[in-house]
Amino acid sequence: MATKSYRQALNEALAHEMRRDPDVVIMGEDVAGGAGGTGEVDAYGGPLGVTKGLIHEFGAGRVIDTPITESAIMGMAAGCAMTGLRPVAELMFADFLGVCLDPIYNQAAKFRYMFGGKARTPLVVRTTIGAGFRAAAQHSQSPYHLFTSIPGLKVVLPSNAYDAKGLLIQAIRDDDPVIFLEHKLLYDTVAEVPDEAYVIPFGEAAITRTGKDVTVVAMSRMVHFANEVADRLLAERIAVEVVDPRTTSPLDLDTIIESVSKTGRLVLIDESANRCSVAADIAALVAEHAFTALKAPIRLVLPPHTPVPFAPILEDAYIPGPARLEAAIRSIL
């Protein structure tokens, strides 16, 4: 099997689905990178290169460069999804949801329920998250906790190239609106990725390390930190089980509870937020449903309750990292 980057895996998923279904269209800022310049077509291929090359195969009618107009991108995507297309709309940075939340939050997420089950909105919003890019407060956030709290949306957080491809294909084929969050610092990570199309169902967590002593729930880039710490602690015969939910809505709570029932200890590492984070939500669910299985307090490893800072020394301290995770694990053993 070929080794491919997260970026290439996503690109393959898009190409597969566009070949398979003429209703799949891509829209966003610079997705062909961009229209109307004096130089080459597809110079960018998406701001982070994920859509590179697609315009040559599928044309400007289906790989649609838009103005910088996030509300209209998301509204247009919602409108074309409810009338039969399967749009993949790119929101360059998840931070920009501040200027386009309404079409996602009040429109697409609610159509099905509000219209009595008669609408379907097969919309995918691809967006990027993550601190560590030295991009400061308005280009570095990971607000998947906000999306997770909205009924009607599905929220996907691929942590590796293999999952990225299978989850994106599932997202495009899914008939509900999906928020697909790609971590900026994962684009160049590699994994073995099949050439053919495959789907990973939503609501099925992956166990990336097995262990009997403590459960760590981690998402997106944090899964890599969790795996790193698990591998390191193995030398001390501390067996860490790492659970990657892969989707926060739907959430595979069964797998998390099964793991906690085995280990009796739970640590969550989450980049989303200090307050009302996905980690806090999962901790509450575990406390509600598996309290008697716990042998120690639940620990949360989170960013501080601050915007993402710019200076590298501050940003590095902001990111929930392996050192803090390891300390949290040791504190409850």
């Binding site: 209703d23 269209v25 009618g61 289906r62 649609i64 838009t66 103005p67 107009t69 509300s71 209209a72 991108i73 998301m74 509204g75 247009m76 995507a77 919602a78 409108g79 074309c80 999804a81 409810m82 009338t83 039969g84 297309l85 749009p87 309404d102 079409p103 009040n106 429109q107 159509f111 099905r112 329920y113 509000m114 219209f115 009595g116 089950g117 008669k118 609408a119 379907r120 009924p151 009607g152 599905k154 899914d174 008939d175 509900d176 609501g203 739907p250």
Partner: protein, 322 residues
């Protein structure tokens, strides 16, 4: 364009249906039996009717919080609408949407929309579907004078011009956004002028004149169907009722609505125009009046007698599959 007498009768039936629907809701709402808020369209019937007159079922419209008229003009079932407004299970949205979210995708009605300025960005999406599929359908967005100031509307107009989308932006200027006058809140001299600045043809018409609106709509729809891109219409009309039912309207001069009903009633204007032309007789219109009244009566009694949603409906229809 000269319409046939059958077409004139069809237009009259639609306008009359909207008027009676709204006037009846005004009365029914006073009984306290309609949950929540309703926003009546009476006074603006000529606009919805004329704009939707040449649309087919597969064409799309996006509406506003004041959406009953658009829904009726686009062919939504009047009984289903009444059931929905009363919050009944058999309503168009199963009682989960209500007045502000009436939608009927089978009739190309993308929904009333309780977010002011919500429709244009959805309508350009429907227009994109048409463009990608090459099916020659068109999409219309309805927006009020209040909504015309929203950023989403500006973004939608620019996107439609950039992508040359088959859509028509209809701005219904009824003089008020909620309680604030359009003369105060719309900074530009006209909404049509502002739309034109985005690079599309835009016309201002008298929204109480069915024929003026119809001519403008026909031109915009033809342009969109022929792949020539978007256009805009500003239709000026009046709101016979308050922003919402229960609105005391103290921001309006005491005789304003009475004067409007006397001098700017699109329905009596239409009646005069078509009977004077000799194409339609007063008797034919009176027959329609009676049929419409009977239909609204039966829709109301049906809605009053109908069952509310089952409690289990609370949890259905959030996702297709989860």
């Amino acid at each position: 364009m000269q319409l046939t007498s059958d077409e004139l009768l069809r237009a009259y039936r639609t306008m009359k249906s909207i008027r009676e629907f709204e006037e009846r809701l005004h009365a029914e709402n006073a009984t306290g039996d309609i949950p929540g808020f309703i926003h009546l369209y009476a006074g603006q019937e000529a606009i919805a009717t004329a704009v939707c007159f040449d649309l087919g079922t597969r064409d799309h419209i996006g509406s506003t919080h004041r959406g009953h008229g658009h829904s009726i003009a686009k062919g939504c079932d009047i009984r289903g609408m009444m059931l929905e407004i009363f919050g009944r299970r058999a309503g168009l949205c199963g009682g989960k949407g209500g007045s502000m979210h009436i939608a009927d995708l089978d009739h190309g009605m993308l929904g009333a929309n309780a977010i002011v300025g919500g429709a244009p960005i959805l309508a350009i999406g429907a227009a994109l579907t048409s463009k990608v599929r090459g099916d020659r359908t068109v999409a219309i967005s309805f927006t009020g004078d209040g909504g015309s100031n929203q950023g989403t509307v500006f973004e939608a107009m620019n996107m439609a011009v950039v992508l040359k989308l088959p859509c028509v932006f209809v701005f219904e200027n009824n003089g008020y956004g909620e309680a604030t006058g359009a003369s105060y809140a719309v900074g530009a001299p006209s909404i049509a002028g502002r739309a034109a600045a985005f690079g599309m043809p835009a016309t201002a018409v008298d929204g109480t004149d069915f024929f003026a609106v119809h001519d403008a709509a026909r031109a915009g729809i033809a342009r969109a169907r022929n792949g020539e891109g978007p256009s805009a219409i500003e239709a000026t009309a009046v709101r016979f009722h308050g922003h919402f039912e229960g609105d005391a309207q103290r921001y309006r001069a005491r005789d304003e609505t009475a004067n409007c009903r006397r001098s700017m009633d699109c329905l009596s204007r239409f009646r005069g125009q078509v009977t004077q032309s000799g194409l339609v007789s007063p008797g034919q219109l009176e027959l329609i009046d009676a049929e419409v009244l009977a239909l609204i009566d039966s829709a109301v009694s049906g809605a009053r007698a109908a069952a509310p949603p089952a409690i289990d409906d609370l949890l259905t229809d959030v996702y297709l599959a989860y």
